[in-house]
């Protein structure tokens, strides 16, 4: 089950071209291991959703991927081997670079290998089509050999997978509650048994009780079906509970990446630390909390050096001049981009 399934290296995404470009995502290096839940945390404007769209190459213009690689390594005997013929071309041991796929290959790749549950998924269903037709639509496109009966059967199976009785297949989205609509979206994401599921703020529109039910279900399904998850949210307390590893983004860069437990116990980057102390606890002693002073940076006028330095309580001399690189910090394969934790190496700025 182990080993990387997705390797992102040096990924850069701009909005716009030339000098007017806003650099939304910069020099991202990130690895998703097989069967893992990777949490991606950050505030609005930190580039976390942009990253998700770049991985799937769904970036709407003026978003442009200006550099880097996103290497996908399908499992031996996995779905890619089974019917992803279009992908075979580049598939050696090295996997395939998603950024180099042609339109046809991309079409076969999306949903088959990586599926996405969108932000505000509650409104992502088409109101004038029944759940059945929306669930079978993807099967029609990707599994043309399936018969209508087989497709219906699969749709019913998918619904029961997420805990909705199969007789709701004929329902329209407005007849379902918010939580059920969200489950339908998850069922749809699992329709082709993808290797990777990207969740972009999947539960923000739901209340906490429903949120927990859906996430537990997802965790259970991951155990049954063995897919990997990239879970994007601003709610780090949720990630701490549900993900294995967490990458924290700020100003378009990853500032820290470590196992969830390590982040919780000992966050190295001052921003991670501040973020953790922005959530009042439900149990334990009541403490005076301060959040983080200042405001998140504007991508149009990023501070020089480390983007966090104007808000950082521990800023030192090099912080305002050079960008710290993501470097190994301590055991457990954790990395942090902060001058406090790096030897003064040559940072690019």
């Amino acid at each position: 089950m182990n080993g990387p399934v997705l390797e992102i290296s040096g990924l850069n995404v701009d909005y716009g071209l030339g000098d007017a470009a806003v650099r939304a995502v910069r020099d991202i290096d990130l690895t998703l291991n097989r069967g893992e839940i990777l949490g991606l945390a950050g505030e609005s404007g930190s580039g976390k959703s942009t990253l998700a769209y770049a991985i799937t190459r769904l970036l709407p213009p003026p978003g442009v991927i200006t550099g880097g690689h996103v290497r996908y390594r399908p499992a031996e005997g996995g779905p890619a081997d089974r019917n992803g013929d279009a992908l075979k071309a580049g598939t050696g041991g090295a996997g395939v670079d998603i950024l180099e796929l042609g339109p046809e290959q991309l079409r076969a790749f999306r949903w088959q290998e990586i599926s996405l549950v969108f932000q505000g998924a509650m409104n992502s269903l088409n109101p004038v089509h029944s759940v059945r037709s929306q669930l079978t639509d993807v099967l029609v496109a990707h599994r043309p050999e399936m018969s209508r009966a087989a497709r219906n059967e699969r749709a019913a199976e998918l619904l029961s997978l997420v805990g909705i009785p199969a007789d709701r297949l004929g329902s329209y989205p407005h007849q379902l509650s918010g939580g059920m609509r969200q489950r339908v979206m998850i069922a749809m994401a699992l329709a082709l048994e993808p290797e990777i599921v990207l969740l972009d703020e999947p539960t923000t529109a739901l209340d906490v009780v429903m949120q927990r039910q859906i996430l537990r279900q997802l965790v259970r399904l991951r155990e049954e079906l063995g897919f990997s998850v990239v879970f994007i949210t601003h709610d780090i307390s949720l990630l701490l509970e549900f993900s294995d590893r967490i990458a924290i983004m700020y100003g378009g860069r990853i500032v820290e990446q470590a196992a969830a437990k390590d982040i919780y116990r000992d966050a190295r980057h001052p921003y991670s630390h501040g973020l953790l102390h922005s959530f009042p606890a439900l149990h334990g002693p009541r403490r005076e909390l301060t959040g983080i002073p200042g405001s998140p940076p504007d991508l149009k006028g990023m501070p020089t050096g480390c983007a966090f330095h104007p808000r950082c309580p521990k800023a030192i001399a090099p912080c305002s001049e050079r960008v710290p690189a993501l470097a190994p910090a301590g055991p457990g394969n954790r990395t942090v981009a902060c001058w406090l934790h790096t030897e003064h190496r040559s940072g690019d700025s």
């Binding site: 927990r212 965790v219 002693p285 959040g291 998140p296």
Partner: protein, 430 residues
């Protein structure tokens, strides 16, 4: 400034604004079918809500979306007329329909809205917004100098200094947090005694939410404001509010001192809410969901009840069990009822794991639990079984005794529990 666990909800403080059994029903558009049936359906948005806002006290209302909590804020601001019930300002009944009476009422009761991107006019500067509020409430001063001074003071109150930098900018030039501060300054321009804050931080970035809450608390303490804090995040209610009330499907189901309500929730809905809130401490206690997702929810129960290895550990496991229980017992888990046709009796009974026959037909009144807590739940009817002042949180269901009583860890004061949570949190048993 510092929150202490022992803070009582300032029961002695003077009541500024009181609501007595206020109810709001919204009429549903009539369709042909309804005309034929002869009745007019209504949405029971708020039913029989009574609450008191005291000087220098923050009162929180916690509830999920659609529970009617924002409607309460709007009723208290008299933006909507009530269907029935009374509003009392300083003990006198008020009904401000509009005009002079409404403006006088506004001077005392101001509101802060959820969305600072929508509540400021994008074509006007901060100066315009604040000047207008000051003038309307007659606090603009006699000349330009006095006005300028009032503006500076107002921005100083919300920590936007130097004022010169913020007065002549447009809302789009400000960050979300700064915008919300301007909205607060605008509310303060009337020099109100009551501030109704409808989810004031939920649209803001997580790292700046606490800054706004701390600002509101600071204002409360300096100006002795009565604040109503409406939120869906019970953890922030615990942090910020002195008193917390929990709302479900248009009714208040539990209330009391924030610390008591969050640490010893009495109503099954509050218990479910607290068990469902994300709590990072859980991973430190080794009950991460990744480690133990109970595929069969019933299996989790005995495990939790025979637990008691570590206090905090058991609590967390029990919380998982509360959720699992609710999922298992309820036909439609996590579905709040329709408010057009709410269930008879207790509105939570279709989802309640402890529902009794009585819950389905009779509406539970408020039952006092201890000195500083009440719950509208039949479990506490004339209750010898009500949770003792020092009982464990989330396991106060008298309906279920037996194995539970045996598993009850001996330790029990909130303080002791809190201490053990921290220590486990530090070491991590996973």
């Amino acid at each position: 400034m510092s929150p202490s666990a022992a803070d009582p909800p300032a029961a002695g403080a003077e009541v500024v604004l009181e609501a007595r059994a206020i109810t709001k029903h919204f009429r549903v558009r009539r369709s042909l079918r309804v005309l034929a049936g002869g009745q007019r359906p209504v949405v029971h948005a708020v039913d029989d809500v009574s609450l008191r806002l005291r000087r220098g006290t923050v009162t929180a209302i916690v509830g999920e979306s659609g529970s009617g909590k924002s409607t309460i804020a709007r009723l208290l601001a008299q933006l909507y007329p009530t269907t029935s019930g009374e509003l009392l300002l300083d003990g006198k009944t008020t009904r401000a329909k509009g005009g002079r009476a409404f403006r006088a009422y506004c001077r005392n009761v101001q509101m802060i809205f959820q969305d600072p991107f929508g509540s400021l006019n994008p074509v006007h500067t901060v100066r315009y917004h604040l000047t207008r509020a000051l003038r309307i409430h007659g606090r603009g001063g006699r000349n330009q100098e006095e006005l300028e001074q009032a503006l500076t003071e107002l921005l100083g109150r919300v920590h936007l200094t130097p004022a010169g930098r913020y007065l002549d900018v447009f809302p789009h030039e400000l960050s979300g947090g700064q915008r919300q501060r301007v909205a607060i300054a605008r509310a303060m321009a009337a020099d109100p005694r009551v501030l109704l804050a409808d989810e004031p931080v939920s649209m803001l970035d997580v790292s700046i939410r606490l800054g706004i809450l701390n600002l509101l608390r600071d204002l409360k303490e300096r100006l002795q404001l009565a604040i109503l804090y409406i939120t869906h995040d019970i953890a922030s209610a615990r942090y910020f509010a002195d008193e917390t009330m929990v709302m479900y499907a248009g009714r208040l189901v539990e209330g009391g001192a924030s610390e008591t309500v969050t640490q010893r929730p009495a109503h099954p809905y509050t218990q479910l809410l607290i068990a469902s809130a994300p709590d990072p401490d859980r991973i430190a206690e080794g009950v991460a969901v990744t480690a133990a997702p109970p595929a069969d929810p019933d299996a989790a129960l005995p495990a939790a009840l025979t637990g008691g290895v570590g206090d905090a550990h058991a609590v967390a496991e029990h919380e998982a069990a509360v959720v699992a229980e609710a999922e298992a017992d309820s036909a439609s888990p996590g579905e709040p009822p329709s408010l057009i046709d709410p269930p008879p009796g207790c509105r939570f009974h279709p989802r309640c794991p402890k529902a009794m026959e009585r819950c389905r037909s009779e509406l539970p009144p408020r039952f006092a639990i201890g000195d500083d807590q009440w719950a509208a739940c039949w479990l506490y009817d004339g209750n010898p079984l009500a949770p003792e002042p020092d009982a464990e949180p989330a396991r106060t269901g008298p309906a279920r005794t037996g194995p539970e009583a045996d598993a009850e860890p001996a330790a029990g004061t909130t303080g002791a529990r809190a201490a053990s949570t921290t220590s486990t949190g530090g070491e991590g048993t996973a």
